[in-house]
Symmetry: C2
């Protein structure tokens, strides 16, 4: 197996965007290829992530910019779509199928008209109201019941991530907030107030150029290496489930640690799936940064701050950056590229060596996620 590198990244600021899905995708692809001065003829295949944009979204992005006549794969895995597209590009390059691939994530949530994201027609729980805010609210209630934590503690996730997002020109929300502001924003699903939820009204696009490591210098002086790439699906076991334990994330992250041969202590930064405040706390624990039940303490102690034990969501995460589904996983890898190559400006983590990206989602059976994607990257 060959080593696989990311040699460049681009994204647009997430948020309500007057451009079409196609135009947003074109903006990030053209910008990336221009930045790197790459001839499009060098790109062997394109892997595109999108959830709600209709058929052939990637070809629709590419056709107006003349990237045509090559293999194009439209990949969907709910919130994990972007990671899945990267995973397929990674596997294809690692195993010699392609040398150079473009990974795109694009989503236009504002085209959906607002409200809860579309639910598949036969998804019984979802159609009875167990939509994402409800699922995570139940997890939060159980967590607050079982452990020594309060709703105000969870609000600290928003405070941290909005502070980070204020330093990120690509974030949908760039204004810091206080615990008081978080707690007094309107109630969405008890205990979550509006500012404890990622937005469902952000558009966005991101792209990364990926190649065999032995060709990285051809494209850029700076690059990062892929140390692990894992995609898995939910177990959907019936019966009792511990709502305070993120099983699919635990399973995917541990497989990634094994692939990369690293321990949680070696991870310097994480871009994780903080769709709601409780999620970030659950993932501290599932990723092994602290014991089960100690996530809030970890947060309170500042260990997930940019200058903490592990910088969690230096970009601002989903809560600040926004969460246009198909774009999120690719945006996390873009952020990781900038961080590991020390190009992250005011939100730069100090000399990170290992970074982890994590997306999980698609609640198709109440609390269980349908898909999860985890990657580990290293600085060169």
């Amino acid at each position: 197996m060959r080593s696989v590198s990311v040699v460049g990244a681009n994204m647009i600021r997430f948020g309500k965007n007057p451009k079409t899905l196609e135009e947003m995708g074109q903006e990030v692809v053209v910008g990336l290829l221009k930045d790197l001065n790459v001839d499009r003829e060098k790109i062997d295949a394109v892997f595109g992530a999108n959830v709600f944009g209709g058929h052939l979204p990637t070809q629709r992005v590419l056709k107006e910019i003349g990237m045509t006549g090559i293999p194009v794969f439209n990949v969907e895995n709910a919130c994990a779509s972007g990671a899945t597209a990267y995973h397929q590009a990674y596997q294809a390059i690692a195993h010699g199928i392609y040398d150079v691939a473009l990974v795109i994530g694009v989503e236009k949530l504002t085209a959906l008209g607002g409200g809860a994201l579309p639910i598949p027609p036969n998804e019984i729980e979802g159609n009875h109201g167990i939509v994402m805010p409800g699922v995570y609210a139940m997890r939060a209630q159980r967590y607050l019941h079982d452990f020594n934590a309060t709703s105000e503690d969870l609000a600290l996730v928003s405070v941290k991530n909005r502070a980070n997002g204020a330093l990120n020109p690509y974030a949908q929300f760039q204004k810091p907030v206080t615990v008081e502001e978080v707690m007094s924003s309107r109630l969405i699903a008890d205990p979550f107030t509006l500012l404890q939820c990622s937005a469902n009204n952000g558009d966005g696009a991101a792209a990364v150029l990926v190649c065999a490591t032995d060709r990285a210098k051809e494209f850029s002086d700076v690059s990062i290496k892929t140390e692990a790439s894992v995609i898995t699906s939910g177990l959907f076991k019936g019966g009792y489930r511990d709502l305070t334990w993120a099983e699919i994330t635990y399973r995917a992250v541990n497989e990634a640690y094994q692939q990369a041969n690293v321990k949680p202590e070696q991870i310097d930064m994480v871009e994780m799936h903080d769709a709601f405040t409780i999620a970030e706390v659950l993932y501290y624990e599932a990723m092994g940064f602290c014991e089960h039940g100690k996530g809030v303490e970890f947060l309170r102690d500042g260990k997930s701050q940019i200058d903490g034990q592990v910088a969690v969501n230096p970009s601002g995460g989903l809560i600040s950056r926004g969460h246009p589904l198909g774009a999120t996983g690719v945006a996390q890898i873009a952020e990781t590229f900038w961080q590991l190559t020390c190009q992250a400006g005011k939100r730069q983590v100090k000399n990170p060596q290992y970074a982890l990206t994590h997306v999980t989602g698609g609640g198709i059976s109440g609390v269980d996620n349908g898909a999860c994607g985890v990657h580990i990257f290293s600085a060169v």
Copy 2:
């Protein structure tokens, strides 16, 4: 690169189906694994093709039958979705990423409520009426103008494919038709009458089990080998285009011939994308079975009959079998498995050695197709 085999296939009869998308998918997967007596633990990954079913369609199929916790990829490439899912499984096995994969195609067109298939919002031509029947009608008009052919000639495609479909228990339409019946059915887009178009109201599901050839015997006494696997995208060139020449098919098929090291004369049967009658004629020519402009003559001479020079659409093709988009490409491979292992019953082609499958579609820029998938298989 390792050789990759198909070791089993299953599908349900296409057509209006009271079952949900999930239930149809479950029926083909459970049936296939039961037939082969395969322990689901042996399956490393699942590649699922679907276009219009919402997010995580494959996980929704799998969760109720306990195929969980493994990598699952939802793949979309419009009409070429099924071929794309197979292509990704093929590549992953050929390059040693997985040993055994399940490929599923499922689509519930009746859930769309009828009428033209959904068009992406910014697809200008489509939203001005250049939908698929219109695109292919223009191609047909030009073909009839340029070459020595009539509308009645095109009707012969329907007559042949409906006759084949009458022998196929999986076909949506199992009643033979005459040229007179074809010509007197209601007009859809001149020169096409209803019986010259594949149906837009068929549901369906199909699945194949794929593995490294050196493990084929573990699953079945019969198998077929993959000799070529090609996915490509449209060129979308502006300006004049010859409507009578299927450029994307020509390009994909020729790449497949090279991969397989076979010539058109060696192909014994083809499952091709006869979405409309003219399509089959264009593809005879693009696949090199006859010269450009001679497709109708080839048809009239019976050379594409089950007992002809090359058996084209022995299953009945899209015109008889129906065309639930994501399912079609996988159903073609299922048919090919049955034909090359001489299990195709009354529609059996005599001792076929090489078979080709072909799907193309997604008109996102007027006449150009967005994606095309071609495979060549051989009998063992």
